[in-house]
Symmetry: D2
Subunit: 303 residues, 4 copies
C-alpha cells in the first residue's frame, strides 16, 4: 500500500475518535491548545515525504528537545557523560524525585527531567551563547531557520516549574550540577519551548534514521552515537510507558507533553505525529495510536 | 568479514580476559560450574550456522526459559494475559518485591520473577501435564528431543528459593495466583532448570528472529506476537541492565544466571553465548561483551 | 470524678456512635464477630478495678500478644535481641514488606509482623514446648488459667496468611530466621489466636504499669526492661497510627485487629478496651476514642 | 542522690569519652565549632536549677526551634494545622524527600524539614514582622531579651540549602505552600539560626514541662496543646532515631544538628544538653548518652 494512502487512512480513523485525551494544563500556556488537532508527517530515506492533517501547525516540542540536547552534549563530552547520568528505564513517572534521591543524584536516564537538567548543565559549560547556539544546532539539523523558541511557553513553565526547581536543587545538593540552579532551569525551559510543526520535527530527527546524516547528507553524528541514542529512545523515550510503546509500536521515539511524538526506523524512515490530548501517562493518545497503526499496516518496525 | 572469523576473534579476545565475573552461587547446584567456559553460536536466516568455544556443553538456561513460557502462555490466553502482568521495565533488580507490593500484585513485566510466576500459574491452567508439555514445546521449537530438565538444579533451587516463595505468597495475597503456591513454584523451578547448549539455545530462539517460524519453517507464533515478545526482551530482558544492553548491544535478548544469553536481529540472525561468570547485575559478563563486539563488528543491530 | 462513673459515661457516649468502623475480615474467623460489642476495663495500682460494657466476653487479642512474646524473648536473650530487630517506628502499614527488603531483613520493630516473626523464631529456640510454655507464661502473668488459644482462629489465619508467609520467607532469605518457615508461622498464628476478655487483658498487662510486678506483686520483668517495652509500645504500638495514638491518647499501648487495645500509665493504671470495628489504619475505632476520652477526662497521660 | 552531683558525675564520665561524634559540616558556619564542648542544664518544677560544663556558651539550636514555631502556629490556627501536616513518625532520615512525594505534599510530621517549612508558611500568614515577632516570642518564653539570631549561620545555611529549597519547591508544586519559596526559606533559616546556651534553652522549654506556664508562671499554651506537642516530640523529635531515644531515654525531646538536645518530664523537670559531635543519625552523641544516664540514675522518665 502506498504511504500517503496509509497516513490518510489513519488520519480519517483517528480524527473521529471519541476519546482524544486531555491537553496538558500544568504549563498554563500549553493548556490553550485545541485538542482537535491531528497531524502526521513521514520522511523516507529514499528522499520522499508524506503528510496529512495539521502537519504544518507549530506546537511546543517540550521533552522531545531532550534528544537533541543529549546528542549535542554527547558531541562535546563523549562517554564521560555517563558518569553523571545513567541509561536505565526509570520505571516511574516523568517527574518523580524518589529515584533521584535513592540513587544519590544520578538520574536514571537523560530523558527524565532530572537527567535533562544535567544535560543542560553540561551544555552550559560548552556553549558560548547557550540558547542561541542550541537553536542554531536544531536549525542546521532541519535546515530550516524559521524554527524558534516560544518565549511565552518558556516564561509560563518558569513561573510554575516547582518540581523542576526541586529536581535541580536536589541535583545541586548531590553535587551533580556545576552551574547555578537558575541558569540551568532557564536554559532548560527554553529548550523545551522549541516550537516546530510535524514536518520540521521529522526533518530534524531524520539524522537518527540516517546514521547521523541529515536530509542533505551532511554528517552531524557518528553512527555509533546514533545507535546508542536510538537505544535510549526505545527504552526511555516514553516516561512510564516506554515498554508499552516498544510493545505496541516497536520504534525508537520520543514524546512531549505538547502532544508531539517523533520516531525512527533506522535505515528506513522518520515519522512524526501531533495530537495535543494526552493519555494518563502523559503521552499523546492519538499519536501513539497513529504510530501503532502505521507499524502494523506497514509491518515496518525494529522487531 | 566472515562470521566464523568474527566469532573466533571475539572468542580469542575474551577467553584471556582477566575479569570473568562471578559464578552464581545462590542456587548451590549452579555454583559448581567452571568460570572458564565460553561458547558462542550463530544461526543466520539464510540457513547457515557458526560456532566457537564451548558451544556444545549444556548449561542451565534459568531465566531465559521465561521467554518460552511467555510465548506458550500468550498462545493460550492472548492479550488477556496483560491484565495480570504489565510490560514496563522494572527499574530494579530481578528479585525485588517492593514494586510488586506498591503495584498491588501486578508484576511489572513477565521477566521479573514475580511475572514469570504468574505466567507459570497461567500455564498450569492450560497444560495437561505441565512439566512434560512444556518440555515438549521446547523440544519441538528446537527440533531436538535431547533437551531436558536438570532435576538436581530444580531441587537445589527449590530448597533455597525463599525469595521466590515470598513473591509467590505475595501474589497469592493479592489474588493474582490461582493455583497452590507449591505447585506454581515447583513448575517454575523446573522450567528454569532447562538444560541446553549454545547451539540448542540459538535453534530454539530462531523462531523470534524468523517471524514465528522455526529452523524448518514450521510456524509456532504469529508475527504480531513475535514482534511484541521481542519488544519485551529489549526493554525487560536484562533485569536492571536492560537499558545498558540495548545501549551497548542493540538487540532484543534474554539472559539467565546460568551465564547464558540469547539475542536476535529480527529477519537476520539468532545468536547465543555462554560464559558462567556474572557481572554485579546478574548478567553474563563476557557474554555481554561478546555480543557488544559482534554488533559493533558486523554493524548489525536493530538501531 | 470517680473512675466507674467516667467509664460509664464514655460507654454511654460511644455505644450510640453512628460510626463503629469495620470488623476485620481478612482472617475469616474474625469476621464473624458482632460490631456492636464495647467493653472497657481499668485496674489502678492502688488495687481497685472498674469495668463497663462487654468487658467479660473473650475476643482474639491478635497483635497485642506481640508485647508478651517480646517480653518473654527479652527475658531469654536480653539486648542481643536488638541485633535482629530494630526499635524504630515503621512509618508504614502493618503488613508492608517494602521496608523489610530495603533494610535487608532487619524488621523495623518487634510489633510489625516481620518483627514478631523474628521474636517467634527466638522463642522457638528457647522454649521446650513453645505453644504450651507461652500460654503458661500469659496465664501466670494474669493469674488466670482459663486463658487459652482459639484454635479455629489460628487455623483460619494459617489458611489465608499469604502475606505473613511472604514475610517469613523474605526473612529466611536474609538469614534472619533459624527455624523452618512453617514452624515459625504455626507458633506465631497460635500466639495471635490468644483469647481474652477485657478484664483478663488488663490483668495481664498490669505488669507494664507496675514496674514488672503483676497484680499479686510477683516480679516478672526488671524495671529497666519494662521502661523499654513501654517506649516501644508508645512509638510502635499502633501500626501506621502510632503518632496519632500518642498525640490523642498519650499512653503506651498496643492494639490488635480483633478490636482490642490495652494501654498503661506507668505507676498509675492499666486500661483495656474492646470494640471490634476498626478504622482504616486497622485500629479499633471506638477503642481509640474511649481512651482519648479517658485521658482527657482524667488528665492522666504520660505527657 | 542530689541532682547537681548527678550532673557532674555524668559530665566527668562523658568529657573523657574517646568517641565524641562528628561536628555537622553541611552548614559551613556550624563546622567551626569545637567538638570538646559539653554542657548540661536542669530546671526542676520546684524552682531549682542545676548546671555543669559549658552550659553558658551559646550554640545554634537549629531544629530545636521547630518545636517553638509549631507551638506558635498551633496558637494561631489550632487543629486546622493538621490538614497540612501529619503527626506520624517519618521512619526516614531528616532530609528525605521520598515520603513527601509519595504522600503528595503532606509532610509526615512538623519536625521533618518539609513539615517545618509548612509551619513557617503558616506563621508568615499570621505574624506581622515574622522574624522579629518569632524572636520576641522566644524571648518572652525564656524571659531573656539577650537571645538572638546568628545571622552568619542563617546566611551560611541559605547559601547551601539546596535540599531545603528542593523540599520547599516540592511543597509548592503540591499546593501546600502559600507564600513565595524564597520568603519561607528565609524565615525558616532565621528560626534555625536561633542562638542559645543550655540555660536559656532549658528556660525556654520549661513551658512544656509545666503544662504551658513558663518559669514565672505566665501561661503561654493550654495544657491540652502541651500534651500533644510533647507526644510529637517523643515520636518524632529525633529524626530516624526517635524510637531509640524513647527507648533509651524515655522523655519527649528535640535535638538539633548544632549539637543541642532539650527534653522534659512533664510535671517534673526540663533538661538541656549541648555537645557538638553528632552520631550517624544526626543527633548529639554525648547528649543522648548524658540523658540516658540521667533518666537511668534518677529513675525519672515517662515510662
Amino acid at each position: 500500500m502506498e504511504y500517503q494512502h496509509i497516513l490518510e487512512e489513519i488520519h480519517t480513523t483517528l480524527q473521529n475518535s471519541p476519546q482524544k485525551g486531555t491537553v496538558a494544563s500544568y504549563i498554563p500556556e500549553l493548556g490553550k491548545v485545541n485538542a482537535d488537532h491531528l497531524g502526521i508527517y513521514l520522511f523516507t530515506l529514499d528522499g520522499k515525504e508524506y503528510g496529512t492533517g495539521h502537519f504544518d501547525i507549530p506546537f511546543s516540542v517540550q521533552s522531545i528537545s531532550k534528544v537533541l540536547s543529549l546528542a549535542k552534549a554527547l558531541d562535546f563530552v563523549g562517554t564521560d557523560l555517563w558518569k553523571r547520568v545513567d541509561v536505565e528505564p526509570s520505571g516511574n513517572p516523568f517527574n518523580f524525585l524518589t529515584l533521584l534521591e535513592l540513587e544519590k543524584g544520578i538520574p536514571r536516564n537523560p530523558f527524565i527531567n532530572a537527567g535533562a537538567l544535567v544535560i543542560s548543565d553540561i551544555l552550559l559549560s560548552h556553549l558560548k551563547n547557550p540558547k542561541e547556539d542550541f537553536l542554531n544546532y536544531v536549525r542546521e539539523l532541519a535546515e530550516d531557520s524559521s524554527i524558534s523558541y516560544n518565549e511565552d511557553v518558556a516564561a509560563s513553565e518558569k513561573a510554575t516549574g516547582y518540581r523542576n526547581t526541586a529536581a535541580a536543587n536536589l541535583l545541586k545538593s548531590f553535587g551533580n550540577m556545576e552551574h547555578n540552579v537558575e541558569d540551568v532551569l532557564d536554559f532548560y525551559f527554553y529548550q523545551c519551548s522549541l516550537s516546530m510543526n510535524c514536518r520540521q520535527l521529522a526533518r530534524t530527527f531524520y539524522v537518527f534514521a540516517n546514521s547521523g546524516k541529515n536530509v542533505s547528507g551532511k554528517t552531524f553524528l557518528p553512527p555509533g552515537l546514533v545507535k546508542r541514542i536510538n537505544a535510549i529512545m526505545l527504552t526511555c523515550g516514553f516516561y512510564d510507558e516506554a515498554g508499552e510503546f516498544a510493545f505496541e509500536v516497536g520504534l525508537p521515539g520520543k514524546s512531549g507533553v505538547g502532544g508531539g511524538i517523533v520516531a525512527v526506523l533506522p535505515g528506513n524512515y522518520c515519522i512524526s505525529t501531533w495530537a495535543p490530548g494526552l493519555n494518563e501517562k502523559g503521552n499523546s493518545l492519538l499519536g501513539m495510536q497513529a504510530l501503532e497503526m502505521f507499524t502494523t499496516k506497514t509491518k515496518l518496525s525494529i522487531f
